[in-house]
Symmetry: C2
Subunit: 179 residues, 2 copies
DNA sequence: AGGGGCATGTAAAGAGTTACATGATTCT
DNA sequence: AGAATCATGTAACTCTTTACATGCCCCT
């Protein structure tokens, strides 16, 4: 089963959603670690419906086509739990566009590399405050079994990533300045 | 231009390589941030050759087909530098399988979540020592313009990622234990 | 004699992006 | 009146993975 399926199952395990709402959530907050466009989501929901992992109810809404709300079926819940029980996949099937640049940065004059890293640094700061703003709205303690504890853990992960990235930028800028 | 092209250009900017050698490097060390299989690399080299970004020389080697060594053309070098000069792409087009699991981990009993995180922690430790072993073979100081400085910067990035991941695992294990 | 590494390719399927297409409601 | 948001879908394309295919050389 694909990552997109797991992402959708994880969302519908929380509550029922329309395809449109899922598409919004796949920008933020799910998009922080898994993105998908609506053009990928609608066919996938259809296919999951066919596989009996989700079920749709037509609700009233705007537009030329019927608005459908999806919910998890028992089989869908089982599939999600099966996946969670399966072995954790190995590290790094990731692709990092910025690291790819850095890998070739030795071709550029040092000040241009520094400019590139500064540009990146600004993005990191922005993302950091985004995470912090979301985390501020979380209660200090959550019981296990609360869906928000799942979101909290991923936000902690994301915040840590940005903290590391910021530290890396600063270290590299220092190294470049030291010549 | 795709990430794969940039990865190949970045490799050939260092020295000429055969398709096979590129495929090895796309496992490690380039694979730490950009992976590709040989089935993707050979056609891409062909297509880049057609676009005059790289040029091939037939050298003698084993097997049913001629062994080809590729080198960067002037146009290839220009294309690489153009990309390096273009604006840095925004954060997070990334997809993280482990974060996807964590997002749904609230469905599992706490001890199973802890087991999952411990499993991950072991992978992180392994990767860390892999990075450290590579870094140990690097000289303490490198001049800018040395291709190894590019590799060094990505290794620092990777090591930092793993340090953060380790810290995250430990923090979450503590939180779970405090329950 | 068999297995692994060297070396290059193709085919088919799956995953993901970009663009096209329609139409209602709400806000300015 | 026009723009943004809600809401769903399809088509074409690119990127990525998995599997098939060939054959030499070296080691045990």
């Amino acid at each position: 089963m694909s990552g997109l399926r797991h992402a959708i199952l994880g969302l519908l395990a929380r509550q029922p959603y329309t395809g449109y709402q899922i598409a919004q959530l796949m920008k933020r907050p799910v998009g922080y670690f898994w993105q998908a466009r609506h053009s990928q989501i609608y066919p996938e929901l259809e296919s999951m419906s066919h596989d009996d992992l989700v079920a749709a109810t037509v609700i009233n809404g705007p537009g030329p086509r019927p608005t459908k709300e999806y919910r998890l079926t028992t089989a869908g819940r089982t599939a999600l739990l099966d996946w969670l029980g399966s072995p954790v996949s190995p590290l790094s099937a990731g692709r990092d566009d910025f690291e790819l640049r850095i890998w070739s940065a030795w071709l550029l004059p040092p000040d241009q590399v520094a400019a590139m890293i500064s540009e990146r640094r600004a993005m990191v700061l922005e993302r950091q405050s985004e995470y912090r703003a979301i985390l501020a709205s979380f209660p200090t303690r959550m019981s296990h079994g609360d869906p928000r504890s799942g979101e909290w853990m991923t936000l902690q992960m994301g915040l840590g990533y940005e903290e590391h990235r910021l530290a890396w930028c600063d270290r590299m800028l220092l190294t470049l300045a030291a010549g």
